[in-house]
């Protein structure tokens, strides 16, 4: 933590219910009361939202010290009054503390107890007695506080206000208006925290309600948080509606498997079925929030197509087999292969990645292992080895807290809202509270960038390296100069995984950090990537960031693993492994949760058809058709392990469900055993202990890569350069089985600059046809005022726009765009 210890002079001392408390200046009375252990009932108050004083449930009696007498000491405290002689209750959630203040809550003031009961009675006048059919029943602040701060019986005899049953705020969030207590938590969250003010309180008086804007749907990646913080059951999630009661649920602390933000979550299950996930409070990481993907995308494990048993291929068909048989076939196949590689994918836990890393070196005798199942480069490998691996909050690496207090943040090839939502929330908070300046080197100014108050440094895909070099030189457009000047005063550079696709860009980023003194952090997209890097599931690195080429590091690991030696040549990366499989140099491969399309393999037949494929998978994927042996493995809810978030912070999680599924490390251990090796990866504890005792390498860090920028290819007439990233909610297979969530995914649109649209004779809203090397896609056109020219942006893997294979194909990044219907 970088906050300085609170000075005694910053403290204000007051008395609450006769208890003296000292709290930081500017604190709210309600927070001070919490310090003193006194609970004041509340609805609208939320520590992470600006105070609003909407519900009036938190009334207290306040006495202020009188003016100082002749000797300078304040006179007797005086009660704050409305009409003279009558106490005026104050809302404790909006009033800040003052020295010498005396506060009486419902505990010591009878009048306040009565006032709170009055407020509660008014709130309940229009509240339906809906508890039996309300999802909040059993965990409802209104239920609880009606018991603690309300009267036993109601005096209201008229008919209550009713509304037709629920309104769909989005396909996932439902609003029962009559339950709403108008606390404005949801609207304040959307407006302040998420920056998506698509809901607001409309109408007045008894008819006041939460409303949506008709033209603009409530499209937000963070809408689930409104369901969680609504103090009544007015907002509910469609997926959990009427499913369960809190006392049915068993809760397990868990960590989200969907991105490298590393959100702390809670997984609630009932008799072996996961029913919901909630954000868990972790101030250092996700605060109290998570994103809708983390909250709702968990049904993929129960859509009914899980591999329950091992399978082996016989006469061209996969059939169910016993574990011993499958292991025997897999061991024989890999044993007969001349050379095998390992594709890990970025979704496994650090323990799993470690087992893959060890399996490759010890059993297969190769360094051909890589977790980067996405576009990557050798430059990236050098960059990761030089600047990323082995860093972490303990070692002074960039943390969420640092983002919150940074004066300037430069985003390179990184779209936080889509690629790491909690980083986005942190940057938005930094912008709101700390006036952090955000600059983004990107082809297009996204809505997310606007919400962070960010400025675009427009760069067409492929030109990022030059733009970064220009920032380093401090010469270029006005904005580049501003950014350069701001960075020079210290700041943070966040590098996304997409920068790996631009030759020289990562070298330039490292050089920029070096030159300006700004701190550098790498933010991958998938949850397992950082852990896999640390665990050595990488062609040039052994566990702990040890270089494969460093003899003493190799010896250290070999000693720990009880081996005579380790393979000493750096291995092939993902692309290299795929190429070697295609050419037949490799004829065996172990695949852990990698979809060939993620690797941009369009011709899976040519790549995997000839090789012996052992696939460790949860559900069928495009690799299944080529697998010779399938070993079923556990999903994140069924195993314990650790993810490492982008900061380098380990995020351990427990198994929520007890099943017979094994985690990847256990399957690999059994396979190694069958092949005559002892891997020592039988339990999570065993793996984790070994990783800890091995620790980080102490060898010298390699220097950052210095790859010169490549000359971008000439754009042929009428062609546009393709820019892309994935939407947070898209067609990813881990979002399967949740139609309500899918309904909130952004629609695929093509974005071009206004100038480009004009040159092409296209207008906003036109349906355009984009000719990709893999076929065409037809999407609606959106013109963006701030965007690089001659560039078209499409989502990587949304419905109607799957670019994964096209992008990996030579020349696939230049596309031809016409109006749909024109020849």
């Amino acid at each position: 933590m970088t906050t300085t210890p609170t000075q005694a002079t910053d403290l204000v001392t007051l008395t609450i219910d006769g208890i003296e408390v000292s709290v930081p200046k500017g604190s709210l009375i309600i927070r001070a009361a919490e310090e003193a252990g006194i609970e004041i009932p509340r609805f609208c108050d939320h520590p992470s939202l600006d105070p609003v004083g909407a519900c009036r449930q938190c009334l207290v009696e306040v006495w202020m010290p009188g003016p100082p007498g002749p000797d300078g000491t304040p006179s007797e405290a005086r009660q704050m009054q409305g009409p003279p002689g009558r106490m005026k209750p104050q809302a404790s959630c909006t009033m800040t503390v003052a020295p010498g203040m005396v506060v009486k809550t419902q505990v010591t003031s009878e009048a306040i107890d009565k006032a709170q009961q009055g407020v509660m009675e008014l709130l309940l006048i229009n509240h339906p007695l809906d508890c039996p059919v309300c999802d909040k029943g059993g965990e409802c602040p209104l239920q609880n506080q009606a018991m603690s701060a309300g009267r036993e019986t109601s005096r209201f005899e008229d008919s209550k206000r009713t509304y037709p049953k629920p309104v769909n705020i989005s396909s996932q969030v439902l609003l029962d208006r009559e339950r709403c207590v108008l606390c404005a938590r949801c609207t304040r969250f959307s407006d302040q925290v998420a920056g998506d003010p698509f809901i607001a309180l409309v109408e007045r008086g008894a008819l006041q309600q939460v409303g949506i804007y008709e033209e603009q749907p409530f499209e937000s990646y963070f809408s689930g948080n409104t369901v969680q913080i609504c103090p009544v059951g007015a907002l509910t999630g469609a997926a959990y509606r009427f499913r369960s009661r809190p006392f049915d649920l068993v809760s397990t602390p868990s960590v989200c498997e969907h991105c490298a933000s590393g959100c702390a979550q809670r997984t609630d299950h009932r008799r072996g079925t996961i029913l919901r996930r909630m954000a868990q409070n972790d101030p250092e990481v996700n605060g109290e929030w998570n994103c809708d993907k983390g909250r709702w995308a968990f049904a993929y494990s129960s859509v009914g197509d899980r591999f329950e048993f091992p399978m082996v291929r016989e006469n061209g068909e996969l059939r169910v087999a016993s574990w011993p048989e499958a292991l025997r076939v897999a061991a024989a196949g890999l044993g007969h292969a001349n050379a095998s590689g390992v594709l890990v994918g970025g979704r496994v836990s650090a323990e799993d990645a470690y087992a893959y890393a060890k399996f490759a070196r010890q059993v297969l005798g190769t360094n051909d292992i890589d977790f980067r199942a996405r576009p990557h480069s050798a430059e990236e490998a050098d960059f990761l080895a030089a600047s990323v691996v082995g860093t972490g909050p303990q070692g002074g690496a960039v943390t969420y807290t640092d983002l919150g207090s940074a004066s300037t943040v430069l985003l390179l090839g990184f779209e936080p809202e889509d690629e790491s939502p909690i980083v986005f929330l942190r940057l938005r908070k930094a912008f709101r509270k700390n006036k952090t300046r955000v600059y983004a080197v990107s082809p297009v100014a996204s809505r997310g960038l606007a919400k962070m108050g960010g400025q675009l440094i427009a760069s067409a895909p492929g030109t990022e390296a030059e733009v970064i070099a220009a920032i380093k030189a401090g010469r270029g457009s006005k904005r580049v100069e501003e950014a350069a000047a701001a960075l020079a005063e210290g700041g943070v550079i966040l590098v996304g995984e997409r920068l790996a696709t631009v030759p020289g860009a990562l070298s330039a980023a490292a050089a920029l950090a070096e030159h300006t003194g700004a701190r550098l952090a790498w933010v991958p997209r998938r949850a397992g990537e950082r852990g896999a890097l640390e665990a050595g599931a990488f062609p040039t690195l052994l566990p702990g960031g040890r270089l494969v080429t460093d003899a003493s590091a190799r010896a250290e690991v070999a000693l720990a693993w009880d081996l005579a030696g380790l393979p000493d040549t750096p291995g092939r990366d993902c692309a290299g492994i795929v190429a070697a499989l295609r050419s037949g140099e490799l004829d065996g491969v172990v695949i852990g949760g990698v979809d060939p399309f993620d690797l941009g393999i369009g011709d899976a037949d040519a790549v995997l058809g000839g090789a012996f494929v052992v696939s460790l998978e949860q559900r069928p994927s495009a690799a299944t058709a080529y697998a010779d042996v399938i070993l079923p493995v556990a999903t994140v809810a069924e195993k314990s392990g650790t993810f490492v978030d982008w900061e380098g912070r380990p995020r351990s999680f427990e198994a929520a469900l007890t099943t017979t599924y094994v985690s990847d490390y256990r399957a690999l251990d059994m396979l190694a055993d069958e092949m005559g090796h002892f891997l020592g990866c039988r339990t999570q504890r065993e793996v984790a202990d070994e990783m800890t005792s091995l620790g980080a390498g102490t060898g010298p860090r390699p220097t950052a890569p210095n790859v010169p920028p490549a000359e971008p290819r000439q754009v042929a007439d009428g062609h546009l350069v393709l820019a892309t990233w994935r939407h947070l909610l898209d067609q990813g297979s881990m979002q399967d089985g949740e139609p309500f969530l899918a309904g909130t995914a952004p629609r695929a649109t093509a974005r071009v600059s206004a100038t480009t649209a004009q040159t092409l004779g296209l207008a906003d809203g036109d349906e355009v046809r984009v000719d990709l090397v893999t076929g065409a896609c037809v999407v609606a056109l959106v013109t963006i005022s701030e965007m690089a020219d001659h560039v078209i942006w499409l989502p990587t893997n949304s419905a109607g726009s799957d670019l994964r294979v096209a992008l990996a194909t030579e020349g696939g990044d230049h596309v031809f765009v016409t109006k749909d219907g024109d020849a």
Partner: protein, 210 residues
């Protein structure tokens, strides 16, 4: 040391051989209290706590809303409920059907009579009067599984005027009207719906959904 035995007297000595039958003889002339169960069954007290029943609205829709309050109240943890959403999408279009008025119904409902202590707290907890107790007490069996009663067993039989759900609510009425006594029997439209569904079912038997 033993006391000298006193003579019991003339009559006592006379009847001594049959004195042991005294109770027998005197009982022979009293009213018989034996119940000839199971040949003859006698009614219980009117408020006897017997087996539960899940009641229906007069048109046949279920009263249970799946709120689980009964399960919550149960001190013996004998009740298991899972709620679900009523679905007015036509069944032929993949709808799951409507079983109760309003939005929510009890999809799964089980009472475990191996656990139930017949305290009746569940009845008190039920907000809709869906759950009541009957006087039925013959709850013995030779295996455990059969003593977990499912929703089908617990649901009250259809009475005259009722039709078997799933079917829509009475046209033009809201959920609350059901509690205000506005519904007295299934309407023609509801009957027609159920008949149509059962015709469809007999014509093209679809997969069982349980």
């Amino acid at each position: 040391m033993a006391d000298e035995q006193k003579s019991p007297g003339f009559f006592a000595e006379l009847f001594a051989p049959i004195a042991g039958f005294g109770v027998t003889f005197s009982t022979m002339f009293r009213k018989v209290v034996t119940e000839e169960y199971p040949e003859e069954k006698r009614p219980t007290a009117r408020r006897f706590h017997g087996r539960h029943q899940l009641n229906r609205h007069p048109d046949g829709l279920e009263k249970c809303v799946g709120c689980e309050l009964c399960a919550w109240a149960c001190p013996a943890d004998a009740i298991l409920v899972e709620g679900a959403t009523n679905d007015d999408t036509p069944i032929e279009d993949g709808g799951a059907g409507r079983f109760s008025p309003g939005e929510r119904y009890g999809r799964v409902y089980q009472i475990n009579y191996l656990r139930c202590i017949f305290c009746g707290l569940c009845i008190e907890a039920c907000p809709t009067r869906a759950l009541t107790m009957t006087n039925f007490y013959e709850l013995a069996d030779n295996n455990r599984a059969d003593l977990i009663f499912t929703k089908e067993q617990l649901l009250a039989p259809l009475q005259s005027g009722m039709v078997q759900p799933p079917h829509p609510m009475v046209e033009g009425l809201e959920e609350r009207d059901y509690y205000l006594g506005a519904v007295t029997a299934a309407t023609d439209a509801q009957r027609a719906h159920v008949e149509e569904q059962s015709m469809r079912h007999t014509q093209e038997p679809t997969e069982e959904v349980h």
